[in-house]
């Protein structure tokens, strides 16, 4: 975005908050459902300072990380195998394609039955949801490697290991990072299914505040979770842009 575009966006956001604030103060918006931004900000400071809220945030962050650390290598490796071994690809790719399109939340009750309402349940459900994105990403990454570059390296005497290191990895890097980023979005969404039933985690707090109509706290938590998700996403995107600079056309 250019400078004046950024200014316009910032001005529009500020304007929206100002309008919201004014409408609440004028009694035109129900403060119990949509508390004024100033109230939410106040609540944000209070909520973020409470140890039990911080502990819940850590629980969720830990679950998200654990699920990602498992799903990332498993998903990508499965993707590589399906792309490189024709027999397995023919057998399992239709199944993966089919499951990819199914909303994973319908399986949540199964996970609760198997694991109980617990941290392992949330991690397992996160892995299950994320792994499909990464399998698809792994397949796409392998298929993005230009065959001609492999021929060129063979002419110049590259070994199998060198072809993997010098051609496959750099060629796949942008798509791998893109899939990791997308996978993370799905992963966070899956773990936050704790809103529907959990004993801890920020999702559990959000659900509790919602049930008690504690709107300022609810909105404060939304701001925190949204900020964390955006931060993770943008950090991954920054790495992706750096490693994928060669893909850009001038």
């Amino acid at each position: 975005m250019r400078r004046h575009e950024r200014l316009i966006v910032a001005a529009a956001a500020l304007g929206l908050f100002a309008l919201w604030e004014t409408l609440v103060r004028a009694g035109r918006l129900d403060a119990s459902l949509a508390p004024a931004p100033s109230t939410v900000a106040e609540s944000l400071i209070r909520v973020a300072g409470r140890p039990e809220v911080l502990a819940s945030l850590w629980v969720t962050a830990w679950e998200v990380l654990a699920a990602f650390v498992v799903a990332l290598p498993v998903g990508l490796l499965l993707g590589f195998v399906l792309a490189e071994v024709p027999v397995l690809g023919a057998l399992f790719r239709p199944l993966v394609n089919f499951l990819f399109g199914v909303p994973k939340s319908i399986f949540l009750p199964v996970f609760i039955l198997v694991f109980g309402v617990s941290i392992p349940q949330k991690i397992a459900f996160g892995v299950f949801t994320t792994v499909f994105v990464l399998i698809m990403g792994g397949i796409a990454a392998v298929q993005s490697v230009p065959r001609e570059l492999i021929t060129v390296s063979r002419v110049y005497g590259a070994t199998r290991g060198q072809i993997i290191r010098e051609i496959y990895l750099p060629a796949m890097a942008p798509i791998l990072l893109e899939s990791a980023r997308l996978g993370m979005v799905f992963n966070i969404t899956a773990v936050l299914c704790e809103i529907y039933g959990a004993r801890d985690g920020i999702g559990y707090r959000i659900a509790a505040w919602g049930e008690n109509l504690q709107m300022p706290q609810l909105y404060a938590a939304l701001v925190i979770v949204a900020a964390a998700a955006v931060a993770v996403n943008e950090a991954l995107r920054a790495v992706e842009t750096r490693l994928g600079a060669w893909r850009q056309r001038t």
Partner: protein, 257 residues
């Protein structure tokens, strides 16, 4: 004539087994002496590129042998044979100089040494000052110059060129042709140059090998007795026309078949 540097002896190539298989090349024999510039022409699909991939060691012939410097070629020989393709096929994430140094990197040549060699080659191919550009920042002709520099960086005896100028525009093609002749006269490589263009073949080569339609057989072996250095005016000469005509007669009858 000196001893053959590249010897192709009774080489046939079939793709696929049984009656559904396709014969691509049929008992090709060619002796190519050191420092000769040989163009290979023939109708579409006659196996010109297959012939090059055999010399490159990318595949083994169904029968017959290919020798380089007396040694049978059974696998790529990067230090003896460089190859340039129709597309430059540069590694898009590497700068021009790193692309040229790539074959040396595969051989684990020390970084300073390989970059110095790559810079020299870029200078030879007229790209001094473009070392740090990424491929997408270079024009089609410049990319092909980088590919030629990469082909030459290990100082191989043989340079294989598979329609290297086919995807470039006419002007770039003519400029690069003259550049290639200059580089060739400075480095004295043995060149095997596959092309669709009869003008290009006669203009560049010492000798034009004409293949028949599939399965490719050698139907003519034409010595180009035009003086060197070649220049643009020669392309209008009677001799040039006569040579081109002789080659065209073979291709015409094959393409009509």
């Amino acid at each position: 004539m000196s001893r053959a540097l590249v010897a192709i002896r009774g080489v046939s190539q079939r793709f696929g087994a049984g009656p559904s298989g396709v014969a691509a090349l049929d008992s090709i024999s060619l002796e190519i002496p050191d420092a000769q510039f040989v163009a290979v022409v023939g109708p579409s699909g006659c196996g010109k590129s297959t012939l090059l991939s055999l010399v490159a060691g990318l595949r083994l012939p169904s029968s017959g042998t290919v020798l380089c410097d007396g040694e049978p070629i059974t696998a790529p020989m990067p230090r003896k044979v460089g190859m340039i393709f129709q597309e430059a096929n540069l590694l898009p994430w590497l700068s021009a100089v790193d692309n040229v140094a790539f074959p040396l990197k595969l051989r684990r040549v020390a970084k300073a040494e390989r970059l110095a060699a790559a810079r020299r080659m870029l200078e030879l191919t007229g790209l001094a000052g473009f070392e740090d550009r990424l491929p997408h920042q270079l024009s089609g002709g410049m990319k092909q110059r980088v590919a030629i520099a990469r082909g030459l960086v290990q100082n191989p005896a043989v340079l294989l060129m598979d329609e290297p100028f086919a995807s470039l525009d006419e002007q770039t093609r003519m400029v690069l042709g003259d550049e290639l002749l200059r580089i060739w006269s400075e480095t004295r490589k043995t060149v095997l140059f596959v092309t669709h263009s009869l003008n290009e073949a006669v203009y560049l080569a010492d000798r034009v090998v004409v293949l028949s339609a599939r399965p490719g057989r050698v139907v003519d072996d034409v010595l180009v007795d035009l003086p060197r250095p070649r220049n643009f005016a020669m392309a209008a000469s009677e001799r040039f026309g006569a040579l081109k005509d002789r080659i065209w007669q073979h291709i015409k009858s094959a393409e009509r078949a």
